[in-house]
Amino acid sequence: MTAFRGALAIAAKDLRVELASRAALNSAVTFAVLVLVIFNFARDPGQVSLQVLAPSVLWVTSAFAGVVALNRSFVMEQERGAMDGLLLAPISRSAIYFGKYLANLAFVLTVNLVLLPLFILFFNVTLSTGLAWVALLLVLAAAGYVAIGTVLAAMTVRTRFADLMLPVLLLAFLVPPVLVGVQATTRLLGGRPVGEIVGWIRFLAVYDVVFITLGWLLFPATMDE
């Protein structure tokens, strides 16, 4: 119970800091919009149709905007030694992990919440129930890579060139969810039945469970000075 309360206190604090500064959300949302726009110009309309390109653009944008949001996560703990305060509180290292994880997930999902309508607008996506499933896929994918990103960000913030290290390390972990997401989205937006993507949803669920567990097990090692 104390662990749960501690995790919630940390997550609420992160959101409050973000509301006060808006540093992560502003940069991540701006980034996402820019990527959407650039992809539109980087396409030869005679050669590549919007429909073919759309799923890839959605997933690449979502994943990279997530990285931008994650990069901020531990900077606030590093700035004035606030991590010491968390480590000295009567809560476990795992509670710290889940607090940071929840806040990061909330950021990434908020970015996606802004991204999805813009995506529908810019890419002329027909509104359908398939879109709801796409949203579910985005949530499932984020739940997994944010779990990894939280552990990685806790470490990279304490290295030189921290802002570069996180994307370099996280990239490989983004590949499975992005690949699966693009495949499933292509089918969903093409009007295929949901039954065809059940396997992929299951894949993402397993990815989430495995990496959340791994993050929970490994995070304490990143805090053990």
Binding site: I148, V151, L152, M155, T156, R158, T159, R160, F161, M165, V168, L169, L171, A172, F173, V175, P176, P177, L179, V180, Q183, F203, Y207, V210, F211, L214, L218, A221, T222, D224, E225
Partner: protein, 226 residues
């Protein structure tokens, strides 16, 4: 360990490397002169005598980084970290061999340099991830922080492998299936198999030689000045 023991270790590693390189030279001669030309792939097939063992050793090296990393987090023994560091670097070296010989073979046989199929994608991602692992190591001053952080990444990489493999497998693969390591008897002519086994042994010796040398160097630079 004393500094002189490190030097002994480095010397042994270098000797083993030299022996392995001579053996590898023998394998090259064997492959070029004494194996038949494969009917469909032509002479390009001979690249595989280098490519397949390099790929195997690279993946083994990365897997051993993961195993050593788990060991490090439990035992906090700096020797395990030094081994992980050595194995990661040697894995990258073999990975570079794999990624250069692969396209050289693929161009004439597949008609394309690169193909986004499971094995290629997985190995490329692993190589990239371990480039990140190495970069991370150079970006941390404190040896214990470095060891812990690296161990975390090493373990995560190990867990990632099945996911990448499975997700990319959703596409159909055109990569040749393993012909030596498979449940039934190897389906290779004896001359080819002999060369393959010789090459595998030479590469394994090269791995051990490289890792021993690199481990010794790492221990020597990390040891307390007495």
């Amino acid at each position: 360990m004393t500094p002189s023991q490190h030097d002994t270790l480095i010397r042994r590693g270098l000797w083993l490397t030299a022996v392995a390189l001579v053996g590898l030279g023998g394998v090259f001669v064997q492959a070029l002169l004494r194996t038949p030309v494969e009917r469909w792939q032509g002479p390009a097939q001979k690249i595989l005598y280098v490519h397949a063992p390099a790929a195997t050793m690279s993946l083994m090296a990365f897997a051993l980084v993961g195993v050593a990393s788990m060991g490090y987090l439990f035992l906090r023994d700096s020797r395990l970290d030094a081994f992980a560091e050595a194995s990661a670097e040697v894995g990258l070296a073999f990975g570079a061999v794999m990624l250069t010989t692969g396209p050289l073979w693929a161009r004439p046989v597949w008609g394309t340099w690169w193909q986004w199929e499971p094995r290629l994608t997985l190995t490329l991602l692993l190589v990239l991830l371990f480039v990140g692992y190495r970069t991370m190591r150079t970006a941390i001053e404190d040896p214990e922080d470095r060891a812990r952080f690296s161990a975390v990444i090493g373990i995560m990489a190990l867990v990632l492998v099945p996911f990448v493999h499975l997700s990319v497998y959703l596409f159909r693969t055109i990569h040749p299936q393993p012909v030596v390591f498979k449940p039934s008897a190897p389906s290779l002519p004896w001359e080819m198999l002999r060369t393959f086994i010789g090459s595998m042994v030479a590469f394994l010796a090269l791995y051990v030689g490289f890792v021993t040398t690199r481990y010794g160097l790492g221990r020597r630079s990390g040891a307390a000045p007495s």
